[in-house]
Amino acid sequence: MKLTDIQSKVHSTFFKEHQKKLYQSLEDKHTTIEELDDGDPLTTKMVLNMGPQHPATHGVLRLVLQLDGETIEKTKIDIGYLHRGVEKIAENKTYQEFMPYTDRMDYLSPYSNNVALCTAVEKIANVEVPERAHYIRMIGCELSRISSHLLWLGTMVMDAGAISFFIWTFKEREKIYDIMDRIGGHRFTISHARIGGVANDLTDEAMGSIKEFVEMFPKELKDYHKLLDRNRIFFDRNEAVGVLKTEDALQIGATGPMLRGSGFALDVRKFSPYARYNEVEFEVPTRLEGDNLARYYVRMEEMSESIRIIKQCIDKLPKGPVRTDNAKQAYPSKDEVYYSMEGMIHDFMMTDTGICPPEGAECYHAVESPKGELGYYIQSDGTGHPWRLKINAPSFTNLQVLEDILDGEMVADTVVIIGGVDPVLGEADK
């Protein structure tokens, strides 16, 4: 397969230079592979474009695969179809104004994204967060982890052939959306965390529904295990597919369940505990096989660990304020805004300039999002806007791994492997 052949067949209408370089890069990958004999009609090699509109690519992921029969010889991934330039936008917004954009990064677990931004800003600006807010954040983060893993489970099993299972996991996700609605007033893009705490305290109604969910969910999880753990079709589709060895995983920088499924227990919650993760007990599920099945077990066990963390948080939830009471650092409570002049001025000042970290300060803070290490690097120039804000997105990191593990697999397994990697393009494309 020569570049000129592809170019003559494809007739790209847009971004011609881009397409040319992409196909060139595919041709150059593993250049040690022997030259093809162009004369032999039996060497049926083809280049297959998958996506960006393919339903199994979970968004707008484009894969360019060079096939030898049904086997993938080499892969190139083209991303950027959802690039909105959030880092540029962040440089022109105050820290709090930027939070709704983080919801739309990893839109399957908005709460973790909010917390990641808040913790980074709190670290650079030295904001003290009340104890109760930490626990509320942990509950929110773990709920969003379950929600994200449920979507992964449903779609991954659907990619492997079981359609109705998707409806089951969405039934549970619906309950989490209802809880989020009761916590912060939004079902999807919740933006509940605030710099210096959270927006509002948990109501009794929200608390009740969280408790109910925590009681009921392990039973559902047991049902999922019952359906999948001894399912021959599911096993055959996932076992020894998309194998990633421990050394390779570390070398290519895999993160989250990808790395833990390959045998290395790296979890930011244990590596450098944030919020109050050092005060709750939980395990870091790890498997050695590194295949898709290992990732399945890791994520399933993570869900039960999340339930364990939420239970401990509910037990330990201390009484007290949910946002720091410092008008220079956080929004005043709504009671103050409505009934006092100072409160209103402070609210206005927070909206107008926002929190100003010291000039020249820089910091990096990472949280363990459902997909892996989600870090925010912030450099301040002393104003209310960040000079530079960099998002270390786990989906981006893991997509790089995908480019490697697809080589040598079957075409039919691509969708299952993508499902196992669980990328969210909103985050990978920034």
Partner: protein
């Protein structure tokens, strides 16, 4: 210098080892908000990266990103976010490069993980990486001529800089 810093045990060992092994190559070691940054000479980047990886157990590269220090000398900065998984240490390695013809050695031969991250830096800031195995843009198409995260690039973009599909369907 390292006496003023409040370093954990693992970081202390790392910084001590680095300053002893490469006395002329380390420009500064500083802390900000609890994170430790080491700025080094750009020409010895690969040497120091190899040393960090093989001798000091920084086997995991978490991220690479660029910073535009608009109006300062040596305008661009590339930062490597490294993890030592044995001692639980996070270290940031910084190199600077000039505005004219910004070029840095690629760390991809040391950590494979750097590949996409360096492509992102190239895409957003236009910093070239020498010996990068797949030196292409990553988010923007190759036909795009600007580097959007540079400070002089306008927030609203440059009209006409990118070819877009027509919004009115062709009717024959």
């Amino acid at each position: 210098m390292s006496n003023e810093l409040n370093l954990s045990e693992g970081l202390q060992k790392t910084v001590k080892n680095l300053t002893e092994t490469f006395p002329d190559k380390i420009i500064e070691v500083y802390q900000s908000s609890g994170d430790t940054f080491v700025r080094i000479e750009a020409d010895s980047l690969i040497e120091i990266c190899n040393h960090l990886k093989s001798e000091l157990h920084f086997i995991y590269l978490s991220d690479v990103f660029g910073i535009d220090r608009y109006t300062s000398d040596e305008r661009f900065e590339v930062v490597y976010n490294l993890l030592n998984l044995r001692d639980r240490v996070r270290l940031f390695l910084k190199v600077r490069c000039d505005e004219e013809n910004p070029e840095v050695d690629s760390a991809t031969p040391v950590w494979k993980a750097a590949s996409w991250n360096e492509r992102e830096v190239y895409d957003m800031f236009g910093i070239q990486f020498r010996n990068h195995p797949d030196h292409r843009r990553i988010f923007m198409p190759e036909d795009f001529e600007y580097y959007p995260l540079r400070k002089e690039f306008p927030l609203l973009g440059i009209p006409g800089s990118i070819e877009l599909p027509s919004t009115t369907p062709e009717t024959d």
